[in-house]
C-alpha cells in the first residue's frame, strides 16, 4: 500500500498522492467525514474509479479515530472477492486527516431497494435477490472464519459493483465498527452500541455483554427480508439517549412479527440484563399469533422462508451461521445464484438498469472542514451520476456510534506542527519504502487550473443504458 514518501519532489501544488487521481467530486458524507469519487490518471489503470474516504480530524483530542484505525488494520489483512478493497492509505500530518482509497462500487443495496420501491415500483427479481444474498453470505463467511465481526451490516453498507469486469459483484464495506473477537481483552459490550437499530439482534437489544458473529447473521436476515419486500423488516423508533438506552419499540416490532421469545426456546434469555430486570415490563407484553411468512409474502414451506426464519432465530446459539446458510437448499434450487447479480445467465429474463450515484462536483477535498468557500474541482464533463454516497453510513437511520469515545481536552495538533523547519529533503527520505503518504496544506489541494472557471455541470440525473 502506498507509493512512497518524498512529497516534495514535484513542483505542483498538489500533494503527490493526490496527483495520481482526478478528483471528480463528493459522493457521500457520514459522521466520520466525507467520501469522494476520483479516477486514476496513471497509464496502468487509467480511468479506474476510486472512492476516497476522508476522515475528519478527531474532535475528542485523542488521536486517530478508532473507526479509521479498525478499517485500516482489518482491511489490510483481508482479501476477498466480496469484501471492499482498500487500495491506499494517505496521511496528512498537518491536519491529522486520513484518506482511505477504495475500489469504487457504483451501487449499494440501499439504493437498489429504494429504486425498486420508489421508481420502478416492482420487486427485485428472484435471481438478483438470491445472488446478492449468496455473495453477502460468502463475504461474511470469510470474515467470520477470520474471527472478524462486522457489527454494522445494513443495506447501505453492502455495495455492488457497476459495469466492468466485476459487474454485479457484492462488496461488504464500512469496517469502522468491525473487530476481531478472538480472545478479546475486554467484553465486547465495552465498545458501546453496535449495529444500526433496525438491524440490531435481540441479544444486543436485551443488553448482552458478550456476543458473537451471530449478530451479523441477524442483520443479514433483516436485509434478506428487505430485499424481498422493499421495506425494512423491523422499523422501530430509536430511543435517543446515552449510553445505550433500552430500545423497547425495536423489540416490540420484532416480537410482533416473531412472537414473544421464551426461555424454552432461548435458555440464555434469562441472563440477559434487560430481560432479567424486566425493564419496562418486557416479560409481560402479550403478542398475537405471529406470521413472519405473511409479512415477507413467502410460503411457510418455501426454502426461502426456511432460510429466513433460521437467520431470525432468537437464540444466537441456534441461529444459522454464514457457512451453514451457504449450504442451504434455497441456493440449490432454480434460479441458482450467479456472480453478476444484475444479469441472470438465462436469456430472456428482464433486468433493471440501476442509476449511478450523484456526484457533487462543487465540493473539493477540503469539504466541509474548510471555512472558505469551496471551489469547483472536478473536470466535470465526463461525470454523470445521480445517487447519494455508498460508503456512507448514516443515512436513513442515524448511525448510533459512541465507540471508544472519551471526554478529552481539546486538540491542539495544529499548533504542535508549527515548527520551524527546512524544506523536506525530497526523495530518499523513505528508504524503507514505508507505505505512507504525506500531504500538504489544505489550500494546496485545490486545483488551480480549475479556479474561476464558470459553469460546472450540476449533479446530473442521468441513467445509464
Amino acid at each position: 500500500m502506498g507509493d512512497g514518501g518524498g512529497s516534495n519532489r514535484s513542483n505542483s501544488n498538489k500533494p503527490e498522492w493526490l496527483q495520481q487521481y482526478d478528483l471528480i467530486g463528493k459522493i457521500g458524507e457520514g459522521t466520520y467525514g466525507l467520501v469522494f469519487l476520483a479516477r486514476i490518471k496513471s497509464s496502468t489503470n487509467r480511468g479506474k474509479s476510486i472512492a476516497i474516504k476522508k476522515f475528519k480530524q478527531s474532535k475528542d483530542g485523542d488521536g486517530v479515530s478508532p473507526t479509521a484505525i479498525r478499517e485500516i488494520m482489518l482491511l489490510r489483512e483481508i482479501t476477498h472477492e466480496n469484501v471492499v478493497k482498500l487500495v491506499n492509505v494517505h496521511i496528512n500530518h498537518v491536519d491529522m486527516s486520513l484518506y482511505l482509497a477504495f475500489d469504487y462500487a457504483e451501487h449499494d443495496l440501499y439504493e437498489i431497494i429504494r429504486h425498486h420501491r420508489d421508481k420502478v415500483n416492482q420487486s427485485i427479481n428472484q435471481y438478483t435477490v438470491k445472488s446478492l444474498l449468496w455473495q453477502l453470505l460468502n463475504g461474511l463467511n470469510y470474515l467470520h472464519s477470520n474471527w472478524i465481526i462486522h457489527r454494522d451490516l445494513k443495506p447501505s453498507n453492502i455495495l455492488v459493483m457497476g459495469e466492468g469486469e466485476e459487474h454485479g459483484v457484492v462488496k461488504i464495506a464500512d469496517f469502522g465498527l468491525a473487530r476481531i473477537y478472538q480472545a478479546p481483552l475486554k467484553p465486547l459490550s465495552d465498545n458501546g452500541v453496535v449495529v444500526t437499530i433496525w438491524y440490531r439482534a435481540p441479544e444486543l437489544l436485551l443488553g448482552a455483554k458478550h456476543y458473537t458473529s451471530a449478530v451479523d447473521m441477524w442483520a443479514v436476515g433483516c436485509i434478506f427480508a428487505e430485499l424481498l419486500t422493499l421495506k425494512p423488516l423491523f422499523q422501530g423508533a430509536e430511543v435517543k439517549a446515552t449510553p445505550n438506552p433500552f430500545q423497547l419499540d425495536q423489540l416490540d416490532k420484532i416480537f410482533k412479527v416473531l412472537g414473544h421469545p421464551t426461555l424454552e426456546k432461548w435458555p440464555s434469555l434469562a441472563n440477559l440484563p434487560h430481560w432479567q430486570q424486566d425493564t419496562q415490563h418486557i416479560q409481560a407484553h402479550k403478542y398475537d399469533n405471529t406470521s413472519l411468512y405473511s409479512v415477507v409474502h413467502l410460503s411457510p414451506k418455501s426454502p426461502a422462508f426456511d432460510l429466513l426464519s433460521k437467520m431470525l432465530e432468537y437464540d444466537p446459539r441456534k441461529r444459522i451461521t454464514a457457512a451453514q446458510a451457504l449450504e442451504h437448499e434455497y441456493f440449490k434450487i432454480e434460479p441458482v445464484p450467479g456472480r453478476n447479480a444484475f444479469v441472470p445467465c438465462q436469456p430472456g429474463e428482464t433486468f433493471v438498469n440501476y442509476p449511478t450515484r450523484p456526484v457533487d462536483t462543487t465540493t473539493d477535498f477540503e469539504g466541509t472542514t474548510n471555512m472558505q468557500s469551496s471551489q469547483p474541482v472536478s473536470s466535470g464533463a465526463a461525470v454523470s451520476g445521480s445517487m447519494p454516497g455508498g460508503h456512507v453510513s448514516n443515512r436513513s437511520v442515524p448511525r448510533p456510534m459512541n465507540v471508544g469515545s472519551m471526554q478529552r481536552i481539546p486538540h491542539q495538533a495544529m499548533q504542535a506542527y508549527n515548527l520551524t523547519s527546512q524544506a523536506g529533503m525530497g526523495g530518499g527520505m523513505n528508504p524503507g519504502g514505508i507505505p505512507m503518504q504525506r500531504g500538504v496544506p489544505q489550500q494546496q489541494l485545490r486545483r488551480k487550473d480549475q479556479m474561476g472557471m464558470p459553469g460546472y455541470p450540476p449533479p446530473q440525473k442521468s441513467r445509464r443504458i
Binding site: I72, E77, N146, I180, Q182, A413, P431
Partner: protein
C-alpha cells in the same frame, strides 16, 4: 485473529538476519550522512506535512564547530539504545498493568519502526509511548493519550503527534504467547494428561511464557513466525522441567502436518539444518538470530545517550530547562518511574 498464513506479518515483516543487518545499516548510514550535511539528525513534521530534518539555528561558524564535534552513533550503539527503550516499554506496560498482548504488540511496533529509521532521527522515548498508545487502541483496550502521558510524566501531545506514523506499518501483529497456549492445549491431548500432568504442563507454560518475554526483547520476532518462537520457548522450558518427551511430541506433530501450518513453516526453516536440536539452540542462543545483545553498563549508556542528544542537536542548556519544567508536572503516583526515565532522557 485473522489467519497468520495470509497475514501482512508473515508476508512483510519476517526477515533473514542478513536483511535485518542491511536495514539497520541503511538507517544508520542515512543518519550519519544527514549529520554531516546538516549538523543534526532529528526529524520533525513540517508545516507542509512532510517530514524533514530540523536545521539547528546557528551561524556558519558555530555550525562548522558543531559539525566537527558531533559524532554519530554506531550501529551497535543504536542497538543499545533500542534495547534500553524496549526494556522501558515493558516497564511502562507493567506499571499500567496492561495485558501481555498489548506489551507484545507495542514491542513489535517499536521494532518495526526502527527497522526504517535510526534512533538519531526519531526520539525513541516518543516512539515508545506512541507504540504503547497505538497498541492499546488496536487491541480494543483504549487508554487516552492524556492518561498515558500523565502516568509517566510526559506531554501526551507528543504521543498524538506521532500516532499517524504508527499507521505506516501494518497493525495486526502476532505474538508467541497465544501460540504457547495453543501448543499446551495440544500437548494436553498428546499425553492424555491427568491432573498431575496438567499441573506440570501449567509450569511448563509459565516458564515458556517468560522465555517468550526474553525473546520479545531481541530481534527474534522479526526473524521467526510466532509459532516457531513459541515452540522454541517450550523446548527450553521442557529441558528444565522435563514434562514431556519433546521429540516424540514433535514427531506426532509432523505426522499431523496438514492440520497445523505452524509446523509446515517450521519444516521449511528446518530445511538444510541438520538436527532439530541444533535449530532450537540456534533460535535461543545462536548465530541464527537471537543474538544476545550486550547489556551496556550505566556508564556506557550515559555516554551513548550524550552522543545521541548532540546528534539530535539538543544543547545541554535546553535540556536543563526542559527537565525543570517537566518536574513541575510530575505526578506523585509515578514519580519514581519518571525519575528513572529522566535520568536517561
Amino acid at each position: 485473529m485473522a489467519d497468520f498464513l495470509t497475514s501482512t506479518h508473515r508476508a512483510k515483516w519476517i526477515f533473514s538476519p542478513q536483511q535485518l543487518d542491511e536495514k539497520y545499516r541503511a538507517a544508520n548510514q542515512r543518519a550519519k550522512q544527514v549529520l554531516e550535511k546538516c549538523g543534526a539528525t532529528l526529524m520533525e513534521v513540517d508545516v507542509d506535512g512532510s517530514l524533514s530534518y530540523l536545521e539547528p539555528q546557528m551561524t556558519a561558524k558555530d555550525g562548522a564547530e558543531k559539525h566537527s564535534r558531533t559524532k554519530p552513533l554506531s550501529i551497535e550503539e543504536e542497538q543499545c539504545i533500542r534495547v534500553f527503550y524496549e526494556n522501558k516499554l515493558q516497564e511502562v506496560c507493567n506499571n499500567f498493568r496492561f495485558p501481555h498482548k498489548i506489551q507484545a504488540t507495542a514491542l513489535i511496533y517499536f521494532k518495526r519502526f526502527y527497522l526504517q529509521w535510526s534512533v538519531m532521527e526519531h526520539q525513541p522515548k516518543h516512539i515508545m509511548l506512541t507504540c504503547i498508545y497505538a497498541a492499546c487502541k488496536i487491541e480494543e483496550n483504549h487508554v487516552s493519550a492524556e492518561e498515558l502521558g500523565k502516568g509517566i510524566s510526559q506531554d501526551h501531545q507528543m504521543i498524538l503527534n506521532n500516532e499517524m506514523i504508527s499507521l505506516e506499518f501494518d497493525l495486526i501483529v502476532y505474538a508467541p504467547y497465544r501460540s504457547v497456549e495453543g501448543f499446551i492445549n495440544d500437548m494436553e491431548e498428546f499425553c492424555n494428561a491427568g491432573d498431575d500432568q496438567l499441573q506440570m504442563l501449567k509450569t511448563l507454560q509459565n516458564t515458556a511464557r517468560s522465555e517468550v518475554d526474553k525473546m520479545m526483547l531481541t530481534d527474534a520476532p522479526l526473524l521467526f513466525p510466532p509459532g516457531q518462537l513459541a515452540l522454541a520457548a517450550l523446548h527450553k522450558s521442557n529441558a528444565l522441567h522435563k514434562v514431556i518427551d519433546f521429540d516424540s511430541y514433535l514427531e506426532s506433530m509432523f505426522s499431523r502436518q496438514n492440520s497445523m501450518h505452524t509446523i509446515s513453516e517450521l519444516s521449511e526453516s528446518l530445511h538444510g539444518i541438520d538436527s532439530l536440536e541444533l535449530w532450537f539452540s540456534s533460535v535461543l542462543h545462536g548465530p541464527l538470530c537471537v543474538r544476545k545483545y550486550k547489556v551496556p553498563s550505566d556508564k556506557e549508556l550515559k555516554h551513548i545517550n550524550r552522543k545521541l542528544k548532540s546528534c539530535w542537536g539538543h544543547s545541554s542548556h535546553d535540556e536543563g530547562k526542559k527537565r525543570e519544567k517537566k518536574s513541575k508536572h510530575k505526578s506523585k503516583k509515578s514519580s519514581n518511574e519518571a525519575q528513572n526515565m529522566s535520568s536517561l532522557l
